[in-house]
C-alpha cells in the first residue's frame, strides 16, 4: 500500500514539452501532451475512481472503473488509457458513468471477503475507498464460484500474500517488472481464473522475488500486506527521512502509530529513488530496537576486564583524562580518530572538529579510506572535484552504460532498477568484471559485452580500451580541444598510443580477448551518450587511484562529460561515504577537500574555531594501525565503524588495537572492535538522528528523527562533551546549527541549510550563490579545475601474485540482503536469505581439490586462514574464488592482505592469492 498521504494521479507524468488544453467537468486544464485523461482530471482536482491504475506504473486498462465520457465520442473510454487531446471536453460524473462504475464494483465485491472491519488494511484500502466513492450499497449477486478460500502465502518474512483478497488488477505484476525489473510475478488465466503467482507457482520465498516490496506498495488491497501492519495496525503519523544503508540514499516516509514504527514507505518525491526501495531500506530496520543495542556507556581499565556501566559524565571524563594523559606522555599526535560513513554529515563534522581542534591533531580518517578514497584522489586530479559527475536520473538518457567492478543489483539495488529500465528500453551494456554479475544476463537484460578480466588487471583493460579509441581515431577532438588541458592530453595521447597498451599486447595479462576489448571500445566511443558506473572493484586495488584516472581519461577523450546521459559515476558503498569525505574527514583535507597546507583555508577554520590548525597531513587508518604496532600511536576514537571486521588483515588490525592504551568506540552494538575498547559510547540509529546524509550523486537528504534517541543523547552531543572535557568547549543547539557552520566554512555547501532542505526536499552540491538549489550534473561548461586533466596511467601489476602454493585469486563483494559487516542486517529477518558467507568457486577448481557443493573448506592466504562453506558456481571463472564479509565468524578479512592503493592506502580487498582445501565439519566455525 502506498504512503498514507500519497496523492496518486493514476498514471505517470508525461515528459513532453508541448501542452494540450482541455476541459474536465467544465474546468479548463492544460497538461503536457501524452498525459492521460485520468491524470489531467486528478490534477484538476477531479479524481476519477480507479483500481488497476497507479501513477508509478504505465496504464493497463483492465478494471474498467475509470470510465469517462468525452463529448463527440461514442462509448465510455477508460480515462487511464485515453490520452488528452486539444479541445477535448471530458465528463467524469454522469448518471450513466455512476451506474456503470457501481456495476463494476459490484462484480469485484461479490468475490471479495466482506471482512473489512477485521481486515488489516481497514482504512487504508483502495477497494474499500472505491466502493465508497462509487456509492456501492448492495451486492446483488449470490455467492457462486469464488476465491474466498484461496490460501495465504506467508513465506516472505516481511509481507504476506492473501490470495482470497486479490482482485487480479495486475498492479503487483507490473510493479515487479516495470519498477523493480525482476519479473518474479505472473498473472495466469483469464477472467475468473486470473491468478497471481510468484515464479512457477511457488511460495514467494522460493521464487526469484528479491523482496523489494514494490508489489506490496502497488497492491490496492490487503492481498500483499506488510506483516508489521498486520501485527501493529494502520499507522497514524509520518516522518520523512532517508535510508541509512547504501549510497543510493533512498527517501522514505516512516509511518508510525504513536512512537512505534509500523512501516517504511519509499517516498515518491525522493530525488534518488522516486518511490522505490530495496529489501534493506523498506524492511530491515528492526535492528534499531534489537535487544543487543547498548544504551548506557561502558568503561573498563583494561580489555581483559569486564565492562562496567557508567554515567555519561563518568565515561566522558574517563576518556578525556586518558586521552590528555597519553598526549602528555607520548605527544599530541599519539592519538586520533575515525569518522563513520554511517553517521550524518553533522555528526561527522563535529567528530573531525573535535579531533582537529580539541585533540589538536590531523590524525583523522574515515572508513572511506577502505572503499572510495581512490575516487576522491582520482577524480580530483582529473576533474577538480572528488565526486561523481551525474545525478541518478541521468542514466535515463544513456545510450550505453559501462559498469566496472560494481554489482548494482546487489549493492545499489534501486539504482539498478533504474538502470535495468533503461537497458530494457534499448541502451547497450558493457560489464567489466571478473565475475558474471547478475546484470550480465537476467530477465530482459543482456550485456552486449562482458570483459571478464583477471582480478588486478583493471588498468591494463582500461588502457587498452583508450588505446583503441586513440589508435582508431575515435577521439572527440572538439571536446578535447575545448575542454581539456592540451599539455596533459598530448602526453597522455603519446603514452596511450604505445603498442604495449594495445589490447593484443595486454591480452595474456588481462585474460580478455583483444577482439572483445576492441568492440567494447568502439561501442563506447560510438554511443551518443555513454556513461560509466563503477564500484569497489575499481578502487580496492593497488592501482585503485590510477584506475579512477584511467576511467576519467576515457570519458574525457570521448567527450562523455558535462550533460545528461554520460559521466563518471562512483557507486558509493555506505549511505554517507560522500558526505563523510565532504566533511573534512581525510587527514590532509579540511571540509570541501581543501588541503591543510593552504594558509587561507586554515586561517578560516582557526578564526571560526578559535584553535590552531596543523598545516601537515595526519595519519591515515592504516598508518595509525602500523604506528600502533610500533608504539608511536596509542589512542583511537572510532565513530560507528567495525575495523576489526571490515579492515583487511584482521590479525594485524587486532594486534594494533590490542597495542593501544585507549580505544573508544561509539556504536550501536558491542562489535568486534569493541573487544579491544576501553570506553563504549552508545550511538543512535538513523531513526533517532536529526541531520543529513549525502548520497552517491552528491544529494544532501534530510534525516529526521522518527523517535527520540534511545540513549538520551545525540552522537554529536557526545563528541561535544568529550571535546569540552578535554578543555576545548564545543556546543550546538541543534543539527541545523551544525549545518549552518558547515555552510559557512565549506564553499560547496554555502547555500545548504535545514530550512532549504525542508523546503525543496534535497539538493545536490555544489549548492551556493551560483547554484541556489544545487547542481545535478557537474562540469557542464567547464571542469571545476578549469581544463580537464589527462593523467598517464601506466599499468603496474600488483605484488599479490598467484604461486604454486596460492594458485587462486580471491575477490570479495556483498549480497543484496546484507550490508557491510552485517551488524544491522544480521539483526533482522534478512538472514532468511543469507545466513552465512560462502565461497563461490568454479566447478573445475572444486573438482581437482575434491570439494563438493556445500562442503566446508579452508581458505588460506599468505597472512591467514579461515573456513567457509563452498558453493560451486559458474559466476566465477576458473582460477577465481569469491566471498562476502557480512559475518564475523567467517572472517573473510582474516585472509586479505595489507597491500593497498599506492596513492591512498585503500586496501586491495579485490585481489588475494589463496589456496582452498576441503576440511571436515569438525573444524567448522559454530
Amino acid at each position: 500500500m502506498t504512503a498514507l498521504d500519497d496523492r496518486d494521479l493514476g498514471t505517470p507524468a508525461s515528459g513532453a514539452r508541448r501542452t494540450v488544453a482541455l476541459s474536465v467537468d467544465g474546468i479548463a486544464v492544460e497538461v503536457p501532451a501524452g498525459t492521460s485523461v485520468m491524470r489531467a482530471a486528478a490534477l484538476a482536482g477531479l479524481p476519477v475512481p480507479k483500481l488497476c491504475a497507479t501513477d508509478s506504473l504505465e496504464a493497463f486498462g483492465s478494471c474498467r472503473l475509470c470510465l469517462v465520457e468525452v463529448d463527440g465520442r461514442k462509448g465510455t473510454p477508460a480515462s487511464c488509457t485515453t490520452p488528452c487531446e486539444d479541445g477535448m471536453a471530458v465528463r467524469t460524473q454522469t448518471p450513466r458513468l455512476e451506474r456503470l462504475r457501481r456495476l463494476v464494483m459490484e462484480l469485484y465485491i461479490s468475490d471479495h471477503p466482506l471482512d473489512c472491519l477485521t481486515c488489516p488494511a481497514n482504512g487504508d484500502c483502495e477497494l474499500q475507498d472505491m466502493a465508497g466513492v462509487v456509492g456501492l450499497r448492495e451486492v446483488r449477486y449470490a455467492l457462486g464460484a469464488n476465491h474466498l478460500d484461496a490460501p495465504t502465502d506467508g513465506s516472505n518474512p516481511y509481507f504476506s500474500f492473501d490470495a482470497s483478497k486479490c482482485i487480479a488488477c495486475s498492479r503487483c505484476v507490473r510493479a515487479c517488472g516495470e519498477v523493480q525489473g525482476t519479473f518474479a510475478l505472473t498473472i495466469s488465466g483469464r477472467g475468473f481464473d486470473s491468478k497471481v503467482s510468484a515464479g512457477a507457482d511457488v511460495p514467494f520465498l522460493e521464487s526469484e522475488c528479491v523482496s523489494c516490496g514494490a508489489c506490496v506498495q502497488a497492491c490496492p488491497t490487503s492481498t500483499l500486506q506488510e506483516k508489521s501492519v498486520i501485527e501493529l495496525g494502520i499507522p497514524t503519523r509520518q516522518v520523512r527521512t532517508t535510508c541509512a544503508y547504501c549510497g543510493v540514499g533512498c527517501s522514505f516516509v516512516a509511518e508510525l502509530r504513536g512512537s512505534e514504527l509500523v512501516r517504511m514507505v519509499p517516498d515518491k518525491a525522493g530525488g534518488a529513488n522516486a518511490g522505490h526501495s530495496c529489501v534493506k531500506g523498506r524492511f530491515a530496520w528492526g535492528y534499531a530496537s534489537h535487544p543487543d543495542r547498548v544504551l548506557a556507556p561502558l568503561v573498563r581499565e583494561s580489555i581483559d576486564e569486564e565492562w562496567q556501566e557508567a554515567t555519561w559524565d563518568e565515561a566522558i571524563g574517563f576518556a578525556a583524562r586518558r586521552l590528555r594523559q597519553i598526549q602528555a606522555e607520548h605527544g599530541v599526535d599519539a592519538i586520533g580518530g575515525i569518522t563513520s560513513s554511517r553517521c550524518t554529515n553533522e555528526e561527522v563534522f563535529v567528530v573531525q572538529k573535535m579531533i582537529r581542534a580539541a585533540f589538536g591533531t590531523n590524525n583523522v580518517d574515515t572508513c572511506a579510506r577502505v572503499c572510495h578514497s581512490p575516487t576522491g584522489y582520482g577524480l580530483k586530479r582529473a576533474f577538480g572535484t572528488s565526486a561523481g559527475t551525474q545525478d541518478f536520473a541521468s542514466v535515463d538518457d544513456a545510450d550505453l552504460v559501462m559498469v566496472i567492478g560494481a554489482n548494482p543489483t546487489d549493492a545499489h539495488p534501486v539504482f539498478a532498477s533504474r538502470l535495468k529500465r533503461r537497458l530494457r528500453q534499448g541502451a547497450q551494456l558493457v560489464v567489466i568484471d571478473p565475475r558474471r554479475i547478475d546484470l550480465v544476463r537476467m530477465p530482459h537484460v543482456q550485456a552486449e559485452h562482458h570483459l571478464q578480466l583477471r582480478p588486478g588487471t583493471n588498468v591494463a583493460v582500461m588502457n587498452a580500451i583508450s588505446h583503441v579509441v586513440v589508435a582508431e581515431n575515435l577521439v572527440d577532438r572538439a571536446f578535447v580541444a575545448d575542454r581539456c588541458d592540451p599539455m596533459s592530453f598530448g602526453a597522455w595521447e603519446e603514452f596511450i598510443r604505445l603498442p604495449e597498451n594495445s589490447p593484443e599486447a595486454l591480452e595474456a595479462e588481462t585474460g580478455v580477448p583483444a577482439t572483445q576489448i576492441r568492440s567494447a571500445a568502439r561501442a563506447y566511443a560510438a554511443a551518443p551518450n555513454a556513461a560509466i558506473y563503477y564500484g569497489l572493484g575499481v578502487t580496492e586495488h593497488s592501482q585503485g587511484s590510477t584506475m579512477v584516472m584511467a576511467i576519467a581519461n576515457l570519458a574525457m577523450v570521448t567527450g562523455n562529460i558535462g550533460r545528461a546521459g554520460v559521466g563518471v559515476n562512483p557507486l558509493r558503498g555506505q549511505n554517507n561515504v560522500q558526505g563523510a569525505c565532504d566533511m573534512g574527514s581525510f587527514p590532509h583535507e579540511l571540509s570541501g577537500y581543501r588541503h591543510v597546507s593552504d594558509d587561507s583555508v586554515r586561517s578560516l577554520f582557526e578564526d571560526a574555531w578559535g584553535a590552531p590548525m596543523r598545516a601537515e597531513p595526519g595519519l591515515r587508518i592504516p598508518n595509525m594501525l602500523d604506528s600502533a604496532t610500533t608504539g608511536a600511536f596509542r589512542a583511537l576514537f572510532i565513530q560507528g565503524e567495525d575495523i576489526a571486521q571490515s579492515d583487511p588483515n584482521t590479525q594485524h588490525v587486532e594486534a594494533a588495537l590490542r597495542a593501544m592504551d585507549l580505544v573508544i568506540v561509539q556504536d550501536l552494538f558491542l562489535n568486534q572492535t569493541a573487544r579491544f575498547a576501553h570506553v563504549f559510547l552508545p550511538g543512535t540509529s538513523f531513526l533517532e538522528k536529526d541531520g543529513t546524509f549525502t548520497n552517491a550523486e552528491r544529494r544532501i537528504n534530510r534525516v529526521r528523527p522518527v523517535m527520540p534517541s534511545r540513549t538520551g543523547k545525540t552522537e554529536w552531543e557526545v563528541a561535544c562533551a568529550l571535546a569540552t572535557a578535554m578543555g576545548y568547549p564545543m556546543a550546538y543547539a541543534s543539527g541545523a546549527e551544525i549545518m549552518d557552520e558547515i555552510a559557512r566554512l565549506t564553499p560547496t555547501f554555502a547555500g545548504v541549510s535545514f530550512d532549504l532542505l525542508d523546503r525543496v526536499g534535497s539538493v545536490q552540491w555544489p549548492c551556493n550563490a551560483e547554484a541556489p538549489v544545487g547542481t545535478p550534473i557537474m562540469h557542464g561548461e567547464a571542469f571545476t579545475r578549469g581544463l580537464g586533466n589527462f593523467v598517464t596511467t601506466p599499468y603496474v601489476p600488483t605484488d599479490e601474485r598467484t604461486t604454486r602454493r596460492y594458485p587462486l585469486l580471491l575477490t570479495t563483494g556483498r549480497v543484496l540482503t546484507q550490508y557491510n559487516v552485517g551488524a544491522q542486517t544480521r539483526r533482522t529477518a534478512n538472514t532468511t536469505w543469507h545466513a552465512e558467507d560462502v565461497l563461490d568457486m568454479h566447478e573445475a577448481d572444486a573438482l581437482v581439490r575434491g570439494i563438493a557443493d556445500g562442503s566446508w573448506v579452508e581458505i588460506s592466504s599468505r597472512v591467514g586462514a579461515t573456513m567457509l562453506r563452498a558453493r560451486i558456481s559458474d559466476d566465477v571463472p576458473a582460477g577465481v574464488v569469491y566471498t562476502t564479509f557480512h559475518y564475523p565468524v567467517s572472517g573473510a578479512n582474516v585472509v586479505t592482505t595489507d597491500n593497498s592503493d599506492w596513492a591512498t592506502n585503500c586496501p586491495e580487498y579485490k585481489v588475494t592469492a589463496v589456496e582452498v582445501a576441503p576440511r571436515s565439519v569438525a573444524g567448522a566455525p559454530t
Binding site: G331, S597, R620, S627, T629, T630, G631, W902
Partner: protein, 74 residues
C-alpha cells in the same frame, strides 16, 4: 610536535617504493614521489622513512632516495 620515536614500521619502505613505481610520469618519479609524500604523509612518517633509508638503503628504490633528498631541500 612529534610523537615518540619508535622504530619505523617496515611498511613505510614498501609504500614509498610503490608510490615511486606508480606515479604517472616515470621520468619524473622522484619529483612526483616527493610531492606525493609531502601532500599525504605526516612529517613523522617522512622522518621514519628517512631513518629507514639510512639504516637499510637497499630496500628503497633510487628515486625514493632522490625524493627524500628533494624533500630535505624544501
Amino acid at each position: 610536535m612529534t610523537t615518540d620515536t619508535a622504530a619505523p614500521h617496515p611498511r613505510l619502505a614498501k609504500m614509498a617504493n610503490q608510490i615511486a613505481a606508480s606515479v604517472p610520469d616515470a621520468a619524473r618519479s622522484a619529483e612526483q614521489t616527493a610531492a606525493h609524500l609531502h601532500a599525504f604523509w605526516t612529517p613523522q612518517m617522512i622522518a621514519d622513512l628517512r631513518l629507514a633509508a639510512g639504516t637499510d638503503p637497499e630496500r628503497l628504490r633510487a628515486d625514493v632516495h632522490r625524493a627524500l633528498a628533494l624533500l630535505r631541500r624544501d
